[in-house]
Amino acid sequence: MSIKRLLTLSLVLIFLVGSLFVMGCEPDEPTVTVGSKEFTEQLILGQIALVALEDAGIPVEDETNLGGTVVAREALERGDIGMYWEYTGTALVEFMGHDVITDPEEAYATIAEWDQTENDLVWLEKTPFNNTYTVMMRQEDAEEMGIETISDLAEAINEGVEAPEPGEWSFATDHEYEARDDGLEQLQVHYGFEFESYEVMDLGITYGALNDGMHATAMGFATDARIAEFNLVNLVDDQEFHPVYNCSPVVRQDILDEFPEIPDILNPIAAVLTPEVMSSLNMKVDLEEELPREVAEEWLREEGFIE
């Protein structure tokens, strides 16, 4: 037998044995594989689901940190993962090709119905937090002036209420929010007011610019860790101007058939994930450098969801 043949034969053997080995590793029992996208909030939400399901005795597998939206969604559709947390607004526009919806309930109902009938995917209960554009103020200013909503802010500006530091009603915005059709300009038209001035800067520093008193108000994303860190508040978008991005666990129907108790486990958890809670969980990972898993366990225990 020539060396070449021997080599070929051994390669084939290795391949066969290897594939047997891999096949042997396939889990026999049904498992819930939890995926997630790659950013902090998604990692935490993924771990919350994993810890809660595991605690309820459901076999789970951790496939969090998959990548971007498309990767996670395709993995879910193929069945590589059984569930992951998705945002209503993202799914509406990117998967369904629907127009933006600014009413949380309507957005949720629309995407949930479509995914159920078209793709056999079930949207469990959505979170109260809505990771969308937000208009922020410093907490002490907002409390002192009694401003809770964007309408309150518009009223204060229109009535000529004296602005907090730096002494005028200025606004810190990033480039995209200034340019978007549903951004700064329309916000002012919609609520009927005008900022005295605004400054365009990188998204990452609007929170700091507000905190340091360089601007009276700023835009950002509603669950960002720095909102909790700097004691900022999200003004309520009471006239529903911004598109909505509430988050829901999206689960495959076949997984739900196998484990019908999943909604009862995850729904009560989603229901208490307010923007303040999510922002402070994000802060623990982003700024205090705890692991997403530790943060998830700690919070679930505090809230009494697990022992």
């Binding site: 480039h175 995209e176 340019a179 400054e199 365009v200 800067m201 520093i205």
Partner: protein
């Protein structure tokens, strides 16, 4: 005469014309509402004005400090420090301009003035280095000869060293200006405005037309200023 007119007026006008044509076309043919809102004459003029402001203030300061510093460091009493400074300046130049801006944002905060200050510091480097190297490179024998003729140090500086070093100093200026035009587009990250407003906005909303406008105006500004300084230098050299 005709040639002078062409060099000083014709070529610059052609360059400005190219930029103007692109701006006029874009403002009048916006593909959608976002581009229409972000590309108006008013806005384009505003960012150009801001950009020129960043450029002029920082470059004027940097030229004065850079040339004066370079001369001082080349004096025999400070020469040793000069060599050390040259190394420090070379190291400083390797720090990316974005990092310089970010650093000054954390120390001084937001806005136009902080951006000007960062650009000023960043532009000093090539000017200072070239001034020092230019004077340092003057043949020793020439200075010896001047001294032998009874020239005082100040006269040696103004009549011998600076004229000989002049092309190198101007080369430093040109480098600084070209770097500065590019670096000034980063001022937008810390609220400094300028042409970067267009470029970064275009990037964040995926509208190439907005990016192209900002980038073309910035590029033409750099080329034009470099060209004009080069021509002015030729003039001065021929004239003296």
């Amino acid at each position: 005469m005709l040639r002078t007119l062409w060099v000083w007026i014709g070529i610059p006008l052609i360059m400005i014309g190219i930029a103007a044509a692109i701006v006029i076309y874009s403002v009048n043919n916006p593909p959608d509402s976002i581009v229409a809102r972000m590309l108006t004459y008013e806005r384009v003029f505003r960012v150009i004005r801001e950009h020129m402001g960043l450029l002029l203030v920082s470059m004027t300061g940097a030229t004065i400090v850079g040339v004066a510093g370079g001369i001082m460091l080349s004096r025999p009493s400070l020469y040793r420090i000069g060599r050390v400074m040259e190394t420090i300046v070379n190291i400083g130049q390797t720090v990316p301009s974005l990092a310089v801006l970010a650093l000054f944002y954390t120390i001084l905060g937001l806005g136009f003035r902080v951006a000007v200050f960062a650009l000023f510091l960043y532009s000093i480097l090539p000017i200072l280095r070239n001034t020092f190297a230019g004077i340092d490179g003057v043949e020793h024998s020439i200075i010896e000869a001047a001294r032998g003729m009874g020239m005082r140090p100040l006269r040696i500086l103004t009549r011998i060293e600076l004229p000989i070093a002049f092309p190198i100093i101007v080369a430093g200026l040109r480098t600084a200006i070209v770097i500065n035009v590019g670096a000034a587009t980063l001022a937008t990250f810390i609220g400094g405005g300028g042409l970067g407003d267009l470029i970064v906005t275009g990037l964040s909303v995926h509208r190439d037309m907005i990016i192209v406008n900002g980038a073309v105006i910035a590029a033409i500004t750099a080329i034009l200023l470099d060209y004009l300084i080069g021509k002015a230098e030729e003039r001065v050299v021929r004239w003296s």
